[in-house]
Amino acid sequence: MALIDEPLLRSVTQGDRLQLAAGGSWTAPNAADLEALIDDAVARGKQFVRVELNMAGVENLDTFGAWLLERLLRDCAEAGQGISVSGLPDRFRGIIDEAHQSNRPSEEQPHEGPLGSAIAGAERAVATISQDVVLNVAMFGALVFAALRVLVKPGSLRLTSVVHHLDRVCWRAVPIVLLITVLIGAIIAQQGIFHFRRFGAEVYVVDMLGILVMREIGVLIVAIMIAGRSGSAYTAELGAMKMREEVDALHTMGLDSIEVLVLPRVLALVIAMPILTFLGSMAALYGGGMVCWLYAGMSPDIFLGRLREIISIDHFEVGMSKAPFMALVIGIVASVEGLQVKGSAESLGLQTTASVVKSIFLVIVLDGIFAMFFAAIGK
C-alpha cells in the first residue's frame, strides 16, 4: 500500500522549471494513483520550459512503475517538452531498459465504420447459412458412403460402439421419454374434455388424442427430447474429441472418423427413434386414457373401443415412418456441429447450443414437409 508520508510524485516550481521528486513504491498496487499523478505532471509541465525529475527517492520499482516513467518521458517528448531524469538507482536499470523498448508504435489495424461492420456481419451470417447447408449435405453424403462401405464389408461395422450408443440413447432415454409423453397425453385429453364437454362431444376426445398422438405429437415430442438429450451429447463428445486432437489422431492412423465415430452414433439413433416413438405414443395414449377415465368418467372399455374404431394402421405408419428420418437429421446436425468445434471451451458450448437449436428447428420443418407429403398421397 502507498506510504502516506512518502508521496509518489511531488512537484515544486522553480522559476521556469518544474521539479518533480519521485518517492515510495512505484509498483503495481500504486499504479493507478501514479498514473493520475504522471498525467497531471505532463499537463502541468507544458507551462514550463523544462521538467526535471529526480528518481533518487524511489524504493521499489516494477514493470508498472518503469512503464509509467517511460510514458512520462514519451509524453513530454511528444509535447516538445524538455525533460531530464536524475538520481535513477542502478538496480532499476534493466527493467527501465525493457520498458524503453516496449510499446513502440506499430501499424494499427484499420477499423470499419458501424455501417461497414453491419454489412460485414450480414455477409458472414449469409455465408454461415450456406456453409451450414453444404456441411450438412456433405455429412449426409459421407454417411451414406460409409454405410455403403459397411454394407459391402459388414465386418467393418463397429458393432460394439453401436450397441454402446444404443444403450445410451435408447435404453437410458426410456424413463424420461415415458414420463414426458404420459404427461403430454394426459394434458391433451384434459384440454379436449374440457372444451368438448360444452358440445356434449366428450367421446371425440379419443379421436383427437389418437390421431394427434399417433401421427404428430408422439414422434415430434420424442424427436425434440432426443435432440436435446442425445444430440447435444453427441456434439459435446465429438467436440471434445476434436479439441483434444483425437479426431486428427484417427485420421493419421488411416481410419475414417465418419465410419468410426459418426456412423455408429447415427445408426444407434436411427434404431432408437422408432422404438422410443412407439413407446412414447403408447405412453401418451395411456396418459390420455387415464385422464378420460378419472376426469371424464369414460371407462377404459369405452376408450379402447373408440380408439380401435378411429385409429387405422395408416395413422400408426405415418407416425412411425417419420421417426428414422428425424433421427437422421438429429444425428447429422449433431455430428456436423461437433466436428466444427475449435480449440476453446466457449466454442464447444456454442456448437452444442447450435446443435440443439438447429436439430429441433429442422425436425419441425421436416414434420411439416411430411404432413404435406402424406396429405398429397391421401394417407
Partner: protein, 260 residues
C-alpha cells in the same frame, strides 16, 4: 518488486506429508527456497514434483507439515492475507492453462483487471510491455490461445504469470514440448526476466540443459523427500544412484559436454 537480494527463505516447507489415493506422495518433506534464486526441482516421473508445487500453491491438501510463503503460513492466514500472497506469486502451468475464450491480451490483463483498478490505456500498455518482454510480436495480442503454437502459448502464459510483477514465479516444466532451440531461448528469457525483475523462480523441470544453464540451486526429489540439494557441482559429486544416473548418465554427460 525489486529489493536488494537478501539471503532469506521466501518459501519454507517443513515436514510436509501429502497422501493421494492412499499413497504417500510426499513424506516429511522439507525445503527452503531463497529470495532471488532460481531453484530447479528434479525427480523421476511420478515422484511428486508437480504435487509439491501444487501443495505450495494450495491446490492439493496436505496431511501434515507447514508451508510458509513470504513469511506467511498459508494454513493459518486469513482469506485476506492469502489473497495478498496470491497476488505476489505467478504460476506457469505445464499446458499454459490460458483461458481459451479470452484473447492473448485479455489473458495477460486478467489478473490486473481482478486486482488493480487501472485505466484501460495503462492496462493495454502494461500488457503489451509484458508480451514484448517475453519476446512476442505485437500482432499476437488479438489472437486466441487455440491459434498459437506451443512455444507461443508458454510465452503468453509466462507473460500472464508476470502480469502483477510477482516476487515468486512457479514454472511447471517450462521447456517441455519446446524444440531445443526454443527451449534454450526460453531458459535465457527466464534468466533475463529473473535478473531484471528480481524474481525468485521455482522451476520443476526435466531439462538437463535448463538445470545447467539457469539454475542457481537444484533440489532432487525421491521417495517423497528432497534427497540432495545444492549447485550443479554438488549434483555431479552425489553418490545417490538416481542422482548419479540422472546427472552423470548418457544424457547428463551430453549436457555437461555441451557446457564445456
Amino acid at each position: 518488486m525489486l529489493s536488494p537480494i537478501k539471503n532469506d527463505a521466501v518459501i519454507r516447507a517443513r515436514d510436509v506429508v501429502v497422501v493421494l489415493n492412499n499413497q504417500t506422495v510426499l513424506n516429511q518433506l522439507s525445503l527452503d527456497v531463497m529470495r532471488g534464486e532460481v531453484l530447479g526441482f528434479v525427480g523421476g516421473s511420478g515422484t511428486g514434483k508437480t504435487v509439491l508445487m501444487r501443495t505450495i500453491l494450495g491446490l492439493v491438501p496436505k496431511r501434515a507439515g507447514s508451508i510458509e510463503v513470504l513469511g506467511v503460513d498459508l494454513d493459518k492466514a486469513s482469506e485476506r492475507d492469502r489473497r495478498a500472497i496470491e497476488r505476489r506469486w505467478g504460476v506457469l502451468f505445464q499446458q499454459g492453462a490460458l483461458f481459451s475464450s479470452l484473447t492473448v491480451l485479455q489473458n495477460v490483463q486478467f489478473p490486473m483487471r481482478e486486482y488493480l483498478r487501472l485505466s484501460k490505456r495503462l492496462m493495454d500498455e502494461i500488457a503489451m510491455t509484458k508480451l514484448e518482454m517475453v519476446g512476442l510480436p505485437a500482432n499476437v495480442r488479438d489472437k486466441f490461445p487455440s491459434e498459437l503454437s506451443g512455444g507461443m502459448i508458454k510465452r503468453v502464459a509466462l507473460a500472464r504469470a508476470l502480469a502483477l510483477d510477482p516476487e515468486i514465479v512457479f514454472l511447471d516444466e517450462p521447456t517441455s514440448g519446446l524444440d531445443p532451440i526454443g527451449a534454450g531461448d526460453f531458459d535465457e528469457l527466464i534468466r533475463t526476466l529473473q535478473q531484471t525483475l528480481g524474481l525468485t523462480v521455482y522451476m520443476v523441470t526435466h531439462d538437463l540443459d535448463s538445470l545447467h544453464e539457469i539454475c542457481d540451486r537444484i533440489a532432487v526429489l525421491s521417495e517423497g523427500k528432497v534427497i540432495v540439494s545444492g549447485t550443479i557441482a554438488t549434483m555431479l559429486q552425489s553418490e545417490h544412484p538416481w542422482v548419479k544416473e540422472y546427472f552423470r548418465g548418457k544424457r547428463g554427460r551430453a549436457a555437461i559436454s555441451a557446457q564445456a
